[in-house]
């Protein structure tokens, strides 16, 4: 009798233990998750992460703590994610573009190996506009070549997305360009265009909304036209398909080596979060673009972006030497 009860107890205990272990496996995450944003509080990436985090928290059942680590054009925060413990409790937006540009465009060794990131999901992609001051004679991007002199662009810095986009455009359309660099934000660069320090600039609707009375968009870098400016032609329809590979993807990643099942938990939660109609309405109004995309095709796109960079490397190097 006594023996049976012990056996029963042991088997019960074992069952209970088995139950709790499966429970913990299912209940990931069981504590708050840190979400690193490589740009400042209040920036484009930050507000997107916060707005998304609100919905995401409900799906995950745990708070998502947004931690802003700005610096070095998004490199610092991305590096922080790269170096974090791969236990599934630190994830974030990695900013891929500067590292891609370092490697393929500038011929420098990037500070991290992008391919090692455990990619969770791509959320958004922000194609830029190219715009000019209202009183300039340019009616289309093809007019730049006719100017017969370098077109002056305002941008944040060498290697920045807007800088590569301008260079790519100049390379394909075969016009000369020069830069006024060092603006802290694209909004500052837009004001510089509006006040006449430069002739042309690039940026999203959000960036030049403040001076929209003084500038005129010429082209949208997407494959199709954008609803904010339906009269402005897209790169796709102007036959500049290569340019649509550029721009800034908003990709959520986990540190290299994070277990796949944990990555999947996040991916499922975020897939459910991005379809929220209220969130989608907010994104549209704020001039951002949702582009949910699975890791597989995102990696393909990134490779394509790297190739576009590589094809521009020579022209860029020549342009920098000439300057």
């Amino acid at each position: 009798m006594r023996k049976t009860s012990t056996a029963l107890f042991v088997s019960l205990a074992a069952a209970a233990m088995a139950f709790t272990t499966t429970q913990t496996a299912v209940a990931f995450p069981d504590k708050p998750v840190t979400f690193i944003v490589p740009f400042g509080v209040g920036g484009n990436f930050d507000v997107l992460a916060r707005k998304l985090g609100q919905r995401w928290e409900k799906e995950l059942g745990q708070p998502v703590v947004i931690k802003s680590l700005p610096g070095s054009g998004g490199r610092r925060g991305s590096l922080q994610i790269y170096r974090a413990k791969p236990d599934g409790y630190t994830i974030g937006f990695a900013h891929f573009v500067p590292f891609l540009a370092d490697e393929h465009l500038m011929g420098k060794k990037p500070a991290l190996d992008l391919k090692k990131f455990a990619m969770i999901y791509k959320v958004a992609h922000g194609p830029n506009y190219i715009f000019v001051r209202k009183d300039t004679p340019y009616k289309s991007v093809h007019d730049f070549k006719k100017a017969g002199r370098p077109i002056k662009f305002a941008s944040t810095g060498i290697g920045a997305i807007t800088w590569t986009e301008a260079n790519a455009l100049a390379g394909i359309l075969n016009f000369q360009l020069s830069f006024v660099l060092g603006y802290k934000k694209l909004a500052d660069a837009s004001v510089a265009v509006a006040k006449g320090d430069a002739e042309a600039g690039l940026g999203g609707v959000r960036h030049f909304r403040g001076v929209k009375d003084d500038v005129r968009p010429l082209m949208f870098f997407g494959a199709k036209r954008d609803s904010h400016y339906p009269d402005v032609p897209s790169a796709g329809e102007l036959g500049l398909k290569r340019l649509t590979a550029l721009g800034s993807p908003r990709i959520i990643v986990a540190p290299p080596g994070t277990p796949q099942d944990k990555v999947q938990v996040f991916r499922d939660a975020i897939k459910r979060a991005v379809v929220d109609p209220e969130f989608q309405a907010w994104v549209k109004k704020s001039g951002m673009y949702l582009k949910p995309q699975d890791p597989k095709s995102t990696w393909v796109d990134l490779e394509e972006q790297g190739k576009v960079f590589a094809s521009l490397a020579e022209a860029v190097a020549a342009a920098r030497k000439g300057k």
Binding site: V41, V47, R50, G71, L181, G210
Partner: protein, 503 residues
Amino acid sequence: MLDSMALAIERLADPQALAMLLTGVIIGTTFGALPGLGSIVALSVVLPFTFGMDPLAAMYLYAGIMSSVTFGGSVPAILLNTPGTPPNAATCFDGYPMAKRGEGARAISVSATSCLVGSIGGALVTIALLPVIKPIVFAFGPPEFFGLVVFGLVMIAFASRANMVKGLVGGGVGLMLSLVGYSEIYDTYRYTLGSDYLWDGIPLVPFVVGLFAVSELITYTARGGTTVSHDVSETKINWHGQIITGIHDVLSRPVQWMRSAAIGAAIGIIPGLGGSVAAFMSYFVGMQRADDPESYGKGNVEGILCAETANDAKEGGALLPTVAFGLPGSPDMAILLGGFVLHGLEPGPDLLRNHMDLIYALLFGIVISQVITSGLGLAAAPWLARLSLLPNRWIAPFVLVLVFVGTFMVRTNILDVAMAIAAGIFGYLMRRYGFPLITIAIGYILGPLAEKSWIQSMQISDDSLMIFVTEPIALVLLLGALATLMVPVVLALRKSRARGLAP
């Protein structure tokens, strides 16, 4: 315009609005008073809590924080010679000598009252300049910024009234320190010693707080005693009476505070200059205009008045480019901008056309929360001022811990604490050899702007120096800088001639 103002006032009468302002004030004053922590940290901390709130309530919370931080930061500047936030550094010059004389409560009262008049003045100037915001922002481009920075650096070296050469050397050292880090313009890392810690240069908060606070604490502990000098009798100090004196000090100087408020608001409007410049510019203009410039830096109430009035007036001004162009003039405005976006408001001409009531509500909110801050400040001043009677050896470790926690909190990076210590030792040595710390700090703060505006001017003009001649504002500023540099030479010449003429 009056409609939107009426709507804004109506919204402020809501008890929830007042509760939000009060909460903001309490958070802001606390974060301001702790060295290292400032409005950036305070705003970042509250931002996630504002999600569920009505946008306007969130704006009031932000307004409460932004307007109260500067007063909070002035308290340790006066009592401990340790600026709570970088823009309060100018308040130390006269605030601390007053505390030494046993007039700590009077100095805090001057600061509280100045913040209030500054806030009101700033709001008035801002409302008046609203229609012409575009020409003002468009008038300031890279050549004008370069002129401003050069003029500012020379003025500060001149006004720090230590040896002018040492002042300029300090400015140069600061400028050189500011070059460390990644340069977007050249796409290179400079002097990072192979470490990614220095990618973004020497971090601002640990450097400035370390330079002033840690070096002061070293001096402090070495000296011993209390803040109030020994020759002042404790029993003779009438803390409560000093409050009235302090209020009277400010109100009896309308010219000074109107001028300081105008300077503060104007500098706030120009994006990219920031709070430290507003306070120092106002302080130095005040000194130039004073009948007795010699008394500045020795505990003249006008020094605190000029610095703190401008400090608070700039908040109203800085709001303008933020809402009109989505162009934040300072890091805390960048966070406010994020708050706008999160609540579905997009800054830009549309916001000015359709949501003027919101902007008035924010401006009035800033003023009302300043009334609350100053009221609380005046009430607390007699007790706060008693800190200056505590022995230094008790205060120093406490402040040092606060400094370390503050610098650590900003980015939660322990190396920032090491940076604060290193900056403190560096500051102590520079101080011992008579280099004014303030020119080092200003050189360091303005250095990136100096470099950037120079290169951008060259890029705009295709490498022609004529851009500094053809742009009238830049030309005037550069000529002003040259004239200031000549002053000591002229004075010396005149002195030697006078000596020569004497029999």
